[in-house]
């Protein structure tokens, strides 16, 4: 009973944080826009409603593109969940995603295989590339104590420029105006679940499967337990005999593999050739999602949906009104601050805890006095 009330409180608290963030957004929109109501309308309901003269109807296509937008961020969100659970502030998701996408793309162009197997090989290769690159900050942290945050941030830039070098000078398709690779073989492309142009590919299903796998891994295996224990109290984990170094490396390699996998699935599902010319930004979105999900893999799809919805809303708002789509960053920053704030509404939490404790005490006393009278 008391647990349920706390859970409800946590849920309401999260909602309050999100509403507050949206309120901040609304204030900015009202200050900056000549048509604030139009802008708000597209931001809040645009992703699922099409506005017609005859009335507003549910827009299935648009809704499906929102779901498609979740594919890379579910992976990057899961990656951050695993890494942050071990209390490792590894910010290298960006680089791992781009690298995974690039490696997957190259195999999709130059490897000849049967479809079905081809996609699996490309995505696995992307995952391995992402895992390998994360080994660097992980090992530097464990063996030398170098801050994984700083090294992983620097790695992102290194990865990006090295990829750009190969993209421009080795693998470029010179027949195209823009810098991009040759097109992927048809056998490597990840098909849509229903061919309707929404880019909702089978990658979405794979992403949901991985939500379950990672949730089981984190809460049902000894490795997952070790990762969470190290995150809560590293000294305790060490004294109780856990292989702290190995587990920390493991957590980051898993994070890298998930990121790389997300990158390759996104690239092979959404595009015809590799054309990212900068870091894609999914790594940072993954951090927002992990925070919204409180590092719990099961909540990741919901958080990813919320972010994908907001993203789409901001895009629509930028298209149909005068508010720039970068609004999303302001909303995200506000969510970050309030959602992650332990003290936000803590007074009420305190009150619930006190009330529960008093009631438990009263029950105990009642039980005790009953026992006495018998």
């Amino acid at each position: 009973m008391s647990d349920r009330r706390l859970l409800l409180f946590n849920l309401l608290r999260g909602l309050a944080a999100i509403l507050l963030a949206l309120l901040v957004a609304a204030i900015f929109i009202f200050i900056s826009s000549d048509e604030p109501l139009t802008a708000l309308k597209y931001l809040l309901v645009g992703p699922v409603v099409s506005f017609k003269a005859t009335g507003n109807v549910f827009n299935t296509t648009s809704f499906l593109t929102v779901l498609a937008g979740m594919i890379p961020t579910i992976f990057s969100g899961l990656a951050v969940c695993v890494m942050f659970s071990a209390n490792q502030f590894n910010l290298g998701g960006e680089g791992a995603i781009m690298l995974g996408g690039f490696v997957g793309a190259l195999l999709g162009i130059y490897l000849k295989m049967n479809t079905g197997l081809h996609q699996v090989v490309c995505v696995l290769a992307g995952a391995i590339a992402g895992g390998l690159i994360m080994l660097i900050p992980a090992i530097l942290k464990v063996k030398l104590g170098a801050s994984e945050m700083v090294t992983s941030l620097m790695m992102n830039y290194v990865v990006m420029f090295v990829i750009l070098h190969f993209l421009n000078f080795v693998f470029a398709d010179r027949s195209k105006g823009a810098t991009q690779t040759f097109p992927f073989l048809e056998t490597a492309k990840i098909p849509e679940i229903v061919a309707n142009g929404t880019k909702l590919t089978w990658g979405f299903v794979v992403a949901l499967i991985f939500v379950v796998i990672i949730a089981l891994f984190m809460y049902r295996t000894k490795w997952g337990y070790a990762i969470r224990m190290i995150g809560i109290n590293q000294s305790f984990a060490q004294y109780s005999g856990m292989q702290v170094g190995t587990v920390i490396i493991l957590s980051q390699v898993i994070g890298g593999m998930l990121s790389g996998m997300g990158g390759s699935i996104e690239v092979l599902g959404r595009f015809n050739s590799f054309l990212w010319r900068e870091l894609p930004g999914y790594g940072w979105l993954g951090i927002t999602i992990a925070i919204l999900a409180k590092n719990n893999p099961i909540f990741v799809p919901f958080a990813a949906f919320f972010i994908a919805y907001l993203n789409k809303g901001c895009d629509l708002m930028a298209t149909y009104s005068d508010v720039p789509s970068e609004m999303i960053d302001i909303i995200q920053a506000a969510i970050f601050l309030f959602f992650a704030a332990e003290q936000f509404l803590a007074k009420y939490r305190q009150r619930i805890v006190v009330r529960n404790a008093q009631r438990d005490l009263a029950l105990q006393e009642a039980a005790a006095s009953q026992g006495g009278s018998n």
């Binding site: 170098a146 620097m154 830039y157 421009n168 609004m327 601050l337 803590a346």
Partner: protein
Amino acid sequence: MIGDLLLSIFNADFLYSVIRITAPILFAALGAVIAEKAGVVNIGLEGIMMISALFGVLFGYWTQSWFIGVLGAVVIGVLLALLIGFFAFEMKTDIILGGIAVNMLGAGGTIFLLYMFTGMKGNTGSLVTRELLIPTLDIPLIKSIPYLGQVLSGHAVLTYLAFLLVWLIWVVIYKTPLGLNIRAVGENPNAATSIGVSVQKIQYIAIAFSGALAGLGGAFMSMYYSQGWNSGMVAGRGFIALAATAMGRGEPVGTMLSSLLFGLAQALRTKVSGMQGVSSYLVSVIPYLVTIIGLVLYAISIKNKLKKRHAVAKGAE
């Protein structure tokens, strides 16, 4: 090719550009030094630089004074740092997440704010005129020394300030009561509390300092270095500054030296990418790679020192 490169490295113009490129990194890195001394991690430096850079240009344009522009950038830097501090200290948001939030504001929020205030998208274009740039200064005597004068004289006022601040911050940290409190709070908050020092107050002061310094770095970027604000301007300098501080062992002078190393790497990148047959992308990797290598070397040296200390302790037994 290597010969050409060596020649151009000892060229006075090249060394001048090293100093110029180092200045913004040094500002932010010194900010990280003060924060770290008080036990505060401010990874929002990157975002603070971006936002301050924008407001430096805007304030300068509104008042038609570069000086007020710079002041405005500093004030905004302090406010943002206090925002991180408020959420970290009062609301118990993890300070790293608070920093990332400010970095997000710096990345996309600036584009939004620019549009909100001016209707422009992506860059400030013509807002920055020649008169609104931070002025340069010729140093009287040194100017006339050949070579040395070319390297050291004629820099922006803020460049000199950056290097002056290395000394000033050393003085503040090691020679003033405030500095003593900052170090006490950073090294042992409980001990500091027991002698009546308010840990929170000192941490607020330290993070505000770091915001002011990052603000100066931002103003330098937009009001001198790239002569206007654009969305890709800071390009990881706030993060590089964190690395420089880590490599400089959190000490002002060490941090200055590692900042100069990054300045050198970045200047080298500009130099080499102009050469024939060199991939500008691979050259762009240099500053970031140098950062990682620097961090690794520093980490190894710390590890060896600890080992030696253990060995000495064992020998004494």
